[in-house]
Symmetry: C2
Subunit: 364 residues, 2 copies
C-alpha cells in the first residue's frame, strides 16, 4: 500500500517527519483519565506556554483534529453575529466560508491572490462598526503570502479593541516567529503536520482571556467546538474533555523539547535562512509569486516562468525521492510551492534546488 521508494516531502504540509519522531508514537498507551496522562498533558501545555512566551492573559490547548476544526471553533464560539473575513487565497476563503456555514453573517475583504492584506484595508472596513470578529490567514499556504499580523494586531488593539482578531497560522506557526502576546491576537491556531514536523492529527490553539469572555456570551457553541468547555475542563481536571490522540501527544511532547532547545528565535532564523535562499534562487531563475515584502518564511511560492510543466518537474523529482507541490487550484501550473519547514535545513533545501536546476537545465 505504501510507496517503497519514499519521497521526502517539501510540500507545504504534511512535511517530512524523522523516523525518531515517528517512533515516539509507539510508546505504550496510557489511560487519558490517569495521573500519567495528566503529567504528560500539563507538561505539554507548559512547554507551549514557554515556547510562545505567553503572557498571563493567554491560554493554550491541543485538540484532536485537523487545524480546520478551529474554523468551526471560531464560527461557533467566537463570532457573535457578524464577521469580516479577509481573503487573499484558498485557505482564508475557506475560513470565511466555514464561519458563514456556522450561520453567522460574513462579509469579505477580498484581496487579489498573491497580494497581502494591509492594516489600512482592514481599518477601512471595520470603521463601519458592524463586525464583532475578524478572520485572517497569517500565512496563506496557497499563495505563499505572509500577512503583516503584528501591524494588523497593533492597529486593531488601538482602534478596534472589541473586535476579536482570529488568525489561521496553520502553516506559519513555529517556523515564523509568532508571539501572540505581542501580536495582541485573540485566537491563533496551527496543526502538527506543518512546522511542528509531526504527523497530522492534532491542532494547537492559543486563546486570549478576552476571547474566552466573548465565548461565554456566544450561544449554541456545541460540544466539540465549545471553547469554554475546553478550557473549563482543563482548569478543573488538567486533562482534555474528550479522549485525545495520546500517541501523537507523546511525539508533540518530544518535539517541544527540541523546539525549546533550539529556541523560538533559533527556529525562526533557520526558517528565514531557508526562505531567503529559496527566494534568491527563484528570482535568479524564475520569479516570485507574492507581493514583494510579504513572502512567507515557511513556504515559497515560485512563479513558473520556465514554460515547462510543473507536473513533469515533480515526476522527475520523484525519481530523485523528493516531492514539492504544484500551485494551488487555479495556480496549479502557473506556480509551484516549496515548503521549507519543520525539520528541513538550508543544506537540504540547497540540494533540492540543485535538482530542479539540473532537471530544468538552469545555469548553475
Amino acid at each position: 500500500m505504501v510507496n517503497r521508494m519514499h519521497k521526502r516531502l517539501l510540500i507545504p504540509g504534511p512535511t517530512e517527519v524523522s523516523a525518531e519522531m515517528l517512533r515516539e508514537q509507539t510508546r505504550p498507551l496510557i489511560g487519558h483519565r490517569a495521573q500519567e496522562f495528566t503529567d504528560l498533558y500539563v507538561g505539554i501545555i507548559k512547554k507551549l506556554h514557554d515556547f510562545f512566551q505567553l503572557s498571563e492573559n493567554y491560554q493554550v490547548t491541543v485538540t484532536t483534529s485537523s487545524g480546520t476544526l478551529w474554523f468551526d471553533i471560531v464560527g461557533r464560539s467566537i463570532v457573535k453575529e457578524d464577521a469580516l473575513a479577509c481573503t487573499n487565497g484558498a485557505f482564508s476563503e475557506r475560513f470565511g466560508k466555514a464561519v458563514q456555514g456556522c450561520g453567522k453573517n460574513v462579509d469579505l475583504l477580498e484581496v487579489e491572490w498573491g497580494k497581502a492584506v494591509k492594516p489600512e484595508m482592514i481599518a477601512d472596513k471595520l470603521g463601519s462598526g458592524e463586525y464583532d470578529t475578524l478572520t485572517i490567514c497569517h500565512n496563506e499556504t496557497s499563495t505563499g503570502v505572509r500577512n503583516p499580523i503584528y501591524k494588523i494586531g497593533k492597529m486593531m488593539k488601538k482602534d478596534f479593541p472589541n473586535v476579536m482578531l482570529t488568525i489561521d497560522s496553520i502553516s506559519g506557526m513555529v517556523g515564523d516567529k509568532l508571539l501572540p502576546s505581542e501580536i495582541g491576537c485573540d485566537v491563533i491556531f496551527a496543526s502538527t503536520q506543518k512546522c511542528f514536523a509531526l504527523p497530522p492529527g492534532l491542532a494547537i490553539g492559543i486563546v486570549s482571556d478576552q476571547a474566552l469572555n466573548r465565548a461565554r456570551e456566544v450561544q449554541n457553541r456545541g460540544l466539540y467546538t465549545n471553547l469554554v468547555h475546553l478550557f473549563d475542563y482543563y482548569e478543573k481536571k488538567h486533562q482534555t474533555p474528550f479522549t485525545p490522540n495520546i500517541a501523537l501527544l507523546y511525539a508533540l511532547d518530544k518535539r517541544l523539547d527540541l523546539l525549546l532547545e533550539e529556541t523560538a528565535d533559533g527556529v525562526y532564523k533557520r526558517h528565514l535562512a531557508m526562505a531567503e535562499y529559496t527566494r534568491n534562487w527563484a528570482q535568479k531563475h524564475l520569479a516570485l509569486f507574492p507581493e514583494p515584502g510579504y513572502e512567507s518564511v515557511t513556504v515559497t511560492c515560485v512563479k513558473n516562468t520556465s514554460g515547462k510543466g510543473v507536473k513533469e518537474l515533480n515526476e522527475e523529482l520523484a525519481k530523485r525521492h523528493y516531492m514539492i507541490s504544484n500551485g494551488y487550484g487555479k495556480l496549479r501550473e502557473q506556480t509551484f510551492r516549496i515548503g521549507h519547514m519543520g525539520e528541513w535545513t538550508l543544506d537540504g533545501i540547497k540540494e533540492v534546488l540543485r535538482h530542479i536546476e539540473d532537471i530544468w537545465g538552469f545555469e548553475k
Copy 2:
C-alpha cells in the same frame, strides 16, 4: 514522562495496543492530496464496507477526531429541530447535551443508570410526532449496559421511518456485532481506541442515504461538522476534505486486514466469550450491575459487593502491571469495569480475573 512499568489496559478505552500495531504509525508520511493517499484511503473505505457488510444505501467515512465529534455532527447535520435523547448513563446524557448545545430542542427519555432503553419506551415518546431525530448509546461505557438496537431499529423502521436513528457505538462497534444495514440505523459511529485497538485520534462513521438526504435539508452545518461536505468531497476526490491523521490511517488499514481475516462473526464470538466468562466470574464472587439480559459484550460493569475499595484494588493490580477501571462518576466505588475488547483474548481475561481473586482473597 512515560511510566516505565507499563500497565496493560483493561479499562474501557483506550485499550491495549500491540507494539506491532503501534509501529504501523511509523511509516514515512505521504501527501494527503497524492495518489498514494487516495489508494490508502479508498482501500480503508472498501475494507470498512466489507467488514460491516454494508448494503448500497450506506456510506462510511473516517474523521480525524475523538468519537465525540460525531455528537456535534448529529447535532449540526442531522437534527432539524427536535430530538429525543435516550439517556441511561453518562455518555448518552452527554450525547443529548451536545445536541442541545448545538441549539436544537432536546427532550430526554430518562432511564435509570444500569437499565436498558426498550423499544416500547421509545415508541411511547415518539408517538407524539414531534421529533425528527433519536439519539441513543448502543453500549453505555459508564454502566456496561447494551441497549437492544436491533429491536429498536426494527420498531423505528416500521413505525417512525422518518425519525433519524443516530447511535453512539463508540465502545461497542466491532467487538459487538453491528450490521448497520440490519439495524436500519441512520448514523452510527465509533472511535479507534476501543474495539479497533488503536490509539485514539480517528472516528469511524456509517451513514445511511436517508441521513445524507436529511443533512442536505439542515441549515448551518458548519464545516468540520458538515456531513454533506464530507461525503461530497469523497465522491469527487476520493480523499478527505481536511488533512487527516495519515499515521493512524496506516494502522487502521492494517487493523482492518486483521479484522477481515478474523471475520465480523469471529471477532464477535471472541468478545462474547470474554464477556460471558467475566459475567460468570462476577456472579460467582460479586454481582453484575446491568439489568439482566442487557450486559455489554465489550465492557463488564461489576457491582462491588466486596466491601473493599476499588481504588486499592487497582493499586494492587498496577503492581502486577494491569489497569482496570473504577466505576464512572457517581458509581466510582460502587462498581468497577473491565474492558475486554480489541486485542484481548479469553486467556488474558482469565489471568487478570485470577489476579483480582488473589488480591481480594476470593475462593478459587
